[in-house]
């Protein structure tokens, strides 16, 4: 018993150090994508590769068009950062980004009433927070005003 407990204690931190790339917060991002898809029937992000950029870069471009610029610290803090970003934190290949925030998309493209679009956006944004540490948890989302009128 004692031995195995010790072994697993040694084992666990090692795993953590090498694979700490994602956490429960990653599920919350997916949830944000799902909310949009259920409401509109369309995928929130459906990236495609282009002539001079790959699908991942397109994906990152879409993030920023919808949610604003990815903080430099996060953009440059990853294992694959150099693949996508310049030292300034801009995408290497995709230069032109057109910011179109969620509430505008819902209002203009999907014809949600302005107020409703804003409420939905307010619900979705904490889920689509770039910084995983700042992203809303499931428990926090449960007390979100948007969910209060449902049983």
């Amino acid at each position: 018993m004692f031995v195995s407990a010790c072994l697993s204690a040694l084992y666990v931190p090692d795993k953590i150090s090498s694979f700490h790339r994602y956490d429960t917060s990653s599920d919350m991002w997916s949830l944000g994508c799902m909310v949009f898809e259920l409401l509109t029937g369309d995928l929130l992000f459906d990236p495609r590769s282009g002539d001079d950029y790959d699908r991942d870069e397109d994906h990152l471009a879409m993030f920023q068009e919808l949610l604003g610029k990815i903080p430099k610290k996060i953009a440059l803090g990853g294992k694959h950062s150099k693949r996508f970003f310049t030292k300034k934190g801009d995408l290497i290949h995709i230069k032109q980004l057109k910011y179109w925030p969620i509430d505008e998309v819902l209002y203009e493209k999907y014809r949600f009433p302005r107020k409703e679009a804003q409420e939905i956006a307010k619900f979705m944004l904490p889920l689509l927070e770039f910084n995983p540490k700042k992203r809303a948890t499931a428990l926090e989302m449960l007390s979100s005003p948007w969910l209060q009128d449902t049983t």
Binding site: D27, M28, G41, H59, L142
Partner: protein, 768 residues
Amino acid sequence: MDTSQAVIILLNSERFTINGKPVYQRYPQPLCSILETYLFSLSTCLRYVVIKKLGWGHFSTVWMVLDRRPEKPVTQWSSDPRYETSFHYVALKVQKSAEHYTEAALDEVELLDSIAQERRSAENLLANNQFQKQPKDSDGVPITTNLLNSQHVATFKDSFFHSGPNGKHMCMVFNMLGCNLLSVIKAFSYQGIPIPIVKKIIKGVCMGLDFLHRKCKIIHTDLKPENVLLQFANPDRAAKSPVNAKADALDESSDVSDGADSVTSAISELEATMRDPRVSAPEKSKARQRLSQLKRQEATNHDGWADQRSTTMPLSPQTFLSDSQMDEIVRSDGGSSGRQSQDSSSNGALPSYVSKQLPKSRFISQNFSVQQEAVLTPWENAFKELANVSSPSKSEVSSYLDGNGVGFAEVSFVLRAFVTEGELADNVSAALGVRYERNFEGGVMRTWRCGISMNRSAVPQKASKPNHVPPMPPPSCATMFEILQQSRKSLSTSERKAREELVNLVSANFSAEGGPKGSYSGSNSTSCPPYSLFTVRFSVLSSVVVLAFLESRLPGLTFLAYKRDEGSPRIDPIVFGEFDEKICRHPLAMKLKNTQHIDGDIPDCQNIVASALIGIDLRMVKSFAARPTPGGDGVASFELTGQSMDVVRGWWSARRSLLSRVRFFMGIDPIQDLPPLLTDEESGSTCSKNESNIESPSKLNEPSEARISNAEDAMAYTTNPDLKDTNILLNSRAVIVDLGNACWTHRHFSEDIQTRQYRAPEVLIGSK
């Protein structure tokens, strides 16, 4: 063998294990229609019976299986009566057998186990802190909330290894759930799901995620619409187990609101039930179902954005007169309870020739009993009083028989022809109340097409039911069948010979001399009395209804259940011979013996028992010496009249109820065990198909209201309801499934996670 082509039968893992592994058998799918797999439920050693394939992925296939030994829910929490079914269907996930799949599955089982354990420990915490008003966890979240949240994560029930020809498969058993969210998105034509439904769903997913993340320390890593399933509430469930519902409600604190309203309604129904003196009556619970159904409909109608379709919803197959439906009608008929009555013996006035003969042939004793009380069984009585007979068109009948998804059966019967076949046909027409249609296909062929509908409004409403809150709906339910009369001349010589032999062998089983096996000396010399051959074609699900109806209308006709080797003399060579398909073709004829030797091998032929139904006019039995009696018009009577019919009448009244004969023939109870209608979830057309099938008979009566019987109840559960019905969706529960890619917060299995479109930026960038 490709798994998609196989039906896997899993045996009780405790009783049948080799080296600790459960034993299983595989049979090629083409052998068995889906219904036929139910044959295996004969065998008590089977625990999981595979019904159909639900889906498949890269690593596994998921099957819908019937758990024949369901565990009793330990606490109120593990079973919410609103979502429970009377049929214990579970989903069985069978992992592919390659080693790395098995390893992945072991990880999954570990995760699932910890979820189940977390749930249990929360239950224990609650149980051990009864006196604390609101026990909370370290995050200050009430334990009750955690338990409610846990219901939004797939419930893992069991896991085991299943050794197949391709190796070891990890099997995981889960609760059955409904469709996934992608199909809901599709149901709304990719135009978006109404906001209230989205809110409800997202709240459920949040609850499930909170339990996974905070309590279980598990990351799902593949959250997407495909991995969230809806569990549809059974409107009647709460009513069926009112005690549970009440317990739930009492334990739910004010800040826990999940489903509180439906529990409240359950309570009010419960109260209504309490006021009623006859709480346990089955129709009571049916009535409650009805009420909740009505409430739902009402709610839909008042709903601003309710879809138009919900009010003009097509008649579902609930109007189908299945055996279980009929059983209910008979029971609620106020008369003696249909199925028990035959056991309550009353008169011993049965002729001695019957009682003497019974022990001599198992075949005979299975079909006749000395404990018969009345000439008319309750079913026959119900037919007499409540049945409406209609004559649907050819296309209606054929689309009905082909279209209900379960297939039809054909059973032949011979009627004694004291008159010409044509005159006999007129008698049959008069008895059924339906004209025949004549055609010539290699000899004269007559066809009767009948629809039977039971008009429940004919049931006298008892005055002693003042508190019977919901008035019984005035529904009718209907089934259709078709009878063919094939002229004797059109039969081939060999078939005619086989038919005659069959009659003679059956006769010999009745005759006083038919004692020891083999005393019958063959029949080449003996001819049989003149007869006319009929075949009835009916839906498998209303076997008892149709056959009982025929017995109630055609005097002398008896459908005898025959099981292999049980005749004295044996009838096997004929019944299971060249013309077996023509004598009786029924997908539920037993094909497997409940043998003690099932040990992983495909059973050999010796273990196979077959059964058949033999339809015979008792006047065909030679030793009964029936003689024609002139009827009113001078022609031989169709009825069992006259002195020479005494023996026939004696036997006729000694018939066991058709239900018990059919039960014996099928090896299962057509009412208790018969599966619901199974429809392919992908075929969206099924619904409309059913609509056209079902509509025609009910058109003859008042527009029928849907009623739910056990089997159909389960059907509603196993097939997806109208996914655009906002009310159904609002009453569903979102459940997170597929932890096949999940991992611990402290131990990840893979770097490459999440389906592209749902992938988080940190995964893309590779945060350190």
